[in-house]
């Protein structure tokens, strides 16, 4: 059987079930509020959203669905990975596309720029929480998903609209490729 051609972001998005974006936005807001109430420290909340629970956990499961629904073949290099995340990944889950810019000289680090972000509709940060990276869940998701396909990355925020910038910019840096390890040996 011939392999299926990879679907574009729009095609995948059109073929899956949808949910009202505002429900999604408000649920995320409720979650951030809970974290703020429980943890109180902005830095702790940033960490939870990204590392410990939330973002990373979602990323490791999201990648399965992504690969299953989008039929993308193995990316040849990191550049292709970046394009796939921005065009297909973001579109498929959040309904918006991101753009890839600012590649560094070695090709191991790039920026993902989002102008439209469903997580932050109708959100403003009060002065006391200026250090909060409200969308930190996104960095965790990307990191978790890429780790499941053997890439260890570091994801940081460069621009954040809630802090007054004109767009959301995430810097994704490839730290290393982890060779796939099989949990059992052939001869056992």
């Amino acid at each position: 059987m011939a392999p299926l051609a990879p679907k574009t972001g729009d095609a995948v998005f059109a073929s899956i079930d949808h949910v009202n974006a505002e429900l999604f936005t408000l649920t995320y807001g409720a979650m951030v509020r809970q974290l703020l109430t429980d943890l109180e420290e902005v830095e702790e909340v940033n960490k939870q959203l990204d590392q410990m629970y939330v973002g990373y956990n979602i990323g490791v499961r999201l990648i399965d669905e992504f690969l299953a629904k989008s039929n993308v073949s193995r990316c040849v290099d990191f550049k292709e990975t970046a394009d796939v995340i921005a065009k297909v990944g973001f579109k498929m889950f959040l309904g918006v596309t991101a753009s890839v810019t600012n590649w560094d000289a070695e090709g191991t680090s790039f920026s993902l720029v989002l102008e439209d972000n469903p997580l932050v509709d109708f959100v403003e940060l009060p002065d006391t929480f200026q250090g909060l990276h409200y969308c930190n869940i996104l960095s965790g998701v990307i990191r978790g998903a890429l780790e499941m396909v053997s890439m260890k990355t570091e994801v940081t925020w460069v621009r954040d609209m809630l802090h007054g910038d004109d767009a959301y910019e995430l810097r994704v840096k490839l730290l290393k490729q982890i060779p796939e390890e099989y949990p059992y040996k052939d001869d056992e």
């Binding site: 949808h18 979650m31 809970q34 469903p118 109708f122």
Partner: protein, 168 residues
């Protein structure tokens, strides 16, 4: 104050046009987010009742704002019924509630129902509209179906009934 961010309305935020272009996200994005919300809360509580309470509170916050945005669900619920035992009770039931679709309850959690989140949303909407009520979610096992229906039970407060009688 914690959590005030979403209710502060500065003029620039109010002037932003309500986005019409993008109105949907993928169901799985919501499912993932919701499952993380539940899992996070599981770590913060000791028992099921508290977990449901927390989900309900989260849902309440959503509901209050949903009304503000004049949001409406595309799909109408399966049925709306009036309770037979009490004048002030109404029920909305749904065969496969969105939040319960991707969640399975481990045996030791028994009666826990993620519908508590939806119950919270409904309560938030009703409260903001001026119809205070107690809203809870229940599983109702159905003959011949694998998964039970979820019913949202709405019990309106005294003052609502009195008001309805006056307007009558």
């Amino acid at each position: 104050m914690i959590g005030v961010g979403k209710i502060k309305h500065y003029t620039n935020l109010l002037e932003k046009p309500l986005s019409r272009g993008r109105q949907e996200v993928s169901l799985s994005a919501f499912a993932f987010l919701f499952s993380e919300l539940v899992q996070y809360n599981q770590t913060q509580v000791d028992n099921i009742a508290e977990l449901e309470r927390r989900l309900e509170d989260a849902g309440y916050a959503v509901g209050a704002r949903v009304l503000e945005l004049l949001c409406h669900r595309e799909k109408v619920a399966d049925s709306l019924e009036k309770g037979t035992e009490h004048e002030d009770e109404y029920m909305i039931s749904e065969k496969e509630l969105l939040v319960n679709r991707f969640i399975s309850i481990p045996k030791d959690m028994g009666a826990f129902n993620c519908g508590a989140f939806v119950a919270g949303i409904v309560k938030g909407v009703l409260d903001s509209a001026g119809f205070p009520a107690v809203v809870t979610a229940h599983f109702v096992p159905m003959e011949g179906q694998q998964r039970p229906r979820t019913t949202i039970l709405i019990k309106f407060a005294e003052e609502v009934l009195r008001r309805e009688a006056r307007l009558g």
